[in-house]
């Protein structure tokens, strides 16, 4: 049945800040969205205010305090070098967050550009780029990471490059597919018939219709990025010691898992909580703003 609500109250344009506030409210109304917001806010807050929240320096070695269990002094205990795990977890959040934001932004920029070119450009270029995307995707993520680290040596840059390589083919493919279908749509034909050039069509008709859903999908990929960073650091392929990273803490804990399991717990818990938080938030964002995307892998 088609809704006959042709006289909806004028839902015109609101100022950006008001729209943002309204969006946050809509997300917070869903139980899962609220949980996601709390977890993500806690993670960001912990990372930003790490220096205020704990008196311990994340990298200060204190041989006397090795392998202390959780207590009021050391909320999450200490590791094999006597470093305070709570402080390391908070500072590890900074690494996770900055890698996530940086690499997602870079992947989005490259992905949108390549996807637009593939989708709107000539057929042969499209085929060539698809082949390239498929080839990159045909490396399992870890293998790609291992190969790249062999090339560059372990570093944060290597992590970002891996994430970008993993994300770009997917983003570009989504942008390409949507561009292809938008290219065939009547509103693009209409713009062409009015005399609009390619640049104008891409700018005002294609990109705005591609970017929204992509942003939501990218926000749902943030937990994956955090997992890649932690995973690479866990394997010793990411940040170099003694920089605090959740993966590195987890690796320290794994080495001593039989006797001092709290180190592994301290490394794993923030990973679980943030990935859950970002996922719940991303899912709610998608359900609220673009339900059509539901069911995408």
């Amino acid at each position: 049945m088609s809704a006959a609500g042709s006289d909806l109250p004028g839902a015109g344009r609101l100022p950006t800040s008001a729209r943002l506030l309204r969006s946050v409210r809509r997300v917070a109304r869903e139980p899962l969205g609220a949980l996601g917001l709390v977890l993500v806010a806690a993670m960001i807050g912990g990372a930003v205010f790490a220096d205020i929240l704990t008196a311990f320096e994340p990298n200060r070695i204190s041989p006397r305090d090795r392998f202390l269990g959780p207590s009021f002094g050391h909320l999450l205990g200490t590791d094999q070098l006597g470093r305070d795990l709570f402080s390391r977890v908070l500072h590890g959040g900074r690494i996770a967050l900055s890698v996530a934001l940086l690499s997602t932004a870079v992947s989005l920029a490259i992905g949108v550009a390549l996807g637009l070119v593939a989708g709107y450009g000539p057929r042969w270029l499209d085929n060539l780029m698809l082949l390239l995307f498929d080839s990159i995707k045909s490396f399992p993520t870890v293998m790609l990471a291992l190969a790249l680290v062999t090339l560059f040596g372990p570093s944060l840059t290597a992590v970002v490059v891996v994430v970008v390589l993993v994300n770009v083919p997917g983003y570009a493919r989504i942008v390409r597919t949507r561009t292809l279908s938008i290219k065939e749509s009547e509103f693009v034909d209409a713009a062409r018939s009015m005399g609009a050039g390619t640049a104008r069509i891409l700018r005002t008709h294609v990109t705005p219709n591609v970017i929204g859903p992509l942003l939501i999908l990218a926000s749902m990929d943030i937990p994956v990025v955090i997992a890649i960073e932690a995973g690479m650091s866990f394997l010793g392929l990411g940040v170099r010691p003694p920089t605090p990273s959740w993966g590195a803490i987890l690796n320290d804990g794994f080495a001593a898992i039989r006797d001092t399991p709290w180190i592994a717990v301290a490394g794993g818990l923030p990973i679980i909580l943030t990935t859950l938080g970002f996922t719940f938030l991303g899912e709610t964002l998608r359900d609220v703003f673009d339900p059509r995307l539901k069911g995408r892998g």
Binding site: M1, S2, A3, A4, G5, S6, D7
Partner: protein, 320 residues
């Protein structure tokens, strides 16, 4: 004898935005071997009416008043299993969209065999029966067609397969939901002719839903005009088309460009739009767009008999 008698049917859907009254006080009758046409524009409740008769209302929909008597049994009171037993052999349906109405991954033969699952016939006998009905709807090379999948047929052929499936059930009532809307006009004619011919052979009644007035005028014995979830006028095709009593029916007929054989400078229209189904007025549903509106239109309107078999839901309507 009456095959289907709907009396005072009310159907609502619960939505996040409050209840939506899709059908209000809908009554109609389909006599044995009769063809009854339901006409109306988008949002008039035609689809909801079919779903209510078939017992296939969406999960948030409910019948909250009235009855649907099919061969004397009230369908609104049947258990789901009893209702299911009626669908097919009792009431068979041809839907609007020939592209989507058949399962894309199963062969035509398999789908036609499946709907005969109640029959004691063996597999090859069922297939022979399927082929026979495909021949009757003039599908060339019927045996070979059984092995094919829906995407291998054109739109018109698919619709004929759907008609063959429905008539193979030899139902007492055939519901045809805009069966020709998706087809080209020249194909529409052939499909309607086929439908009418087979209906006479099988002897079933037909509830024919359409927005195409010309087709309804030609095919149907009786006509029901719906607007915004209500039956506004009902009568024989002659009564409704020759002497429409409800302002909406009259205007709708006037709007049909086929009615004016000579070139018109200004075509008649009905200004305004269908009321929001969540906020339909208590009184006449058409009052907001009616050129003859008066204060009394705000009061709820009942059915008024014009002549035997002809009624209109308008206090201004007059017999004769």
């Amino acid at each position: 004898m009456t095959v289907l008698a709907i009396k005072g049917l009310n159907v609502s859907f619960s939505t996040g935005d409050g209840d939506l009254r899709a059908l209000r006080d809908v009554s109609l009758e389909v006599p044995a071997r009769g063809i009854v046409g339901v006409v109306g524009e988008s949002g008039c409740g035609k689809s909801t009416l079919i779903n209510a008769v078939l017992g296939l209302l969406a999960d948030n929909g409910r019948v909250d008043g009235g009855s649907i008597l099919f061969e004397g049994r009230d369908l609104t009171r049947l258990a789901p299993a009893e209702m299911r037993a009626l669908r097919g052999p009792g009431i068979a349906t041809v839907f609007q969209d020939p592209m989507g109405a058949l399962n894309p991954v199963l062969s035509i033969g398999r789908q036609m065999r499946d709907i005969q699952y109640r029959s004691p016939l063996g597999r090859s006998e069922k297939d022979a029966r399927s082929a026979e009905f495909l021949r009757r709807v003039r599908i060339p090379d019927a045996e070979a067609a059984l092995a094919r999948h829906p995407h291998e047929f054109s739109g018109g052929m698919k619709q004929r397969v759907a008609i063959a499936m429905a008539l193979m059930m030899e139902p007492s009532l055939l519901i045809a939901d805009e069966p020709t809307t998706a087809l080209d006009a020249t194909l529409e004619v052939a499909t309607i002719d086929l439908l009418k011919e087979l209906q006479e052979q099988i002897g079933c009644s037909v509830l024919f839903i359409s927005h195409h007035l010309g087709v309804v005028a030609e095919l149907c014995d009786d006509v029901v005009v719906m607007y915004a979830g209500e039956v506004v006028e009902r009568g024989s095709a002659r009564q409704v088309f020759n002497t429409p009593r409800h302002p909406y029916s009259a205007l709708l007929l006037e709007c049909d460009p086929a009615r004016r054989p000579e070139r018109a400078r200004r075509l008649p229209t009905i200004p305004g739009s269908v009321p929001d189904p969540r906020r339909r007025p208590e009184g006449c549903v058409f009052a907001g767009r009616c050129p003859r509106r008066v204060d009394a239109c705000r009061a709820p309107q009942g059915e008024r008999a014009m002549e035997p078999g002809h009624m209109a839901r308008c206090h201004l309507a007059e017999a004769g």
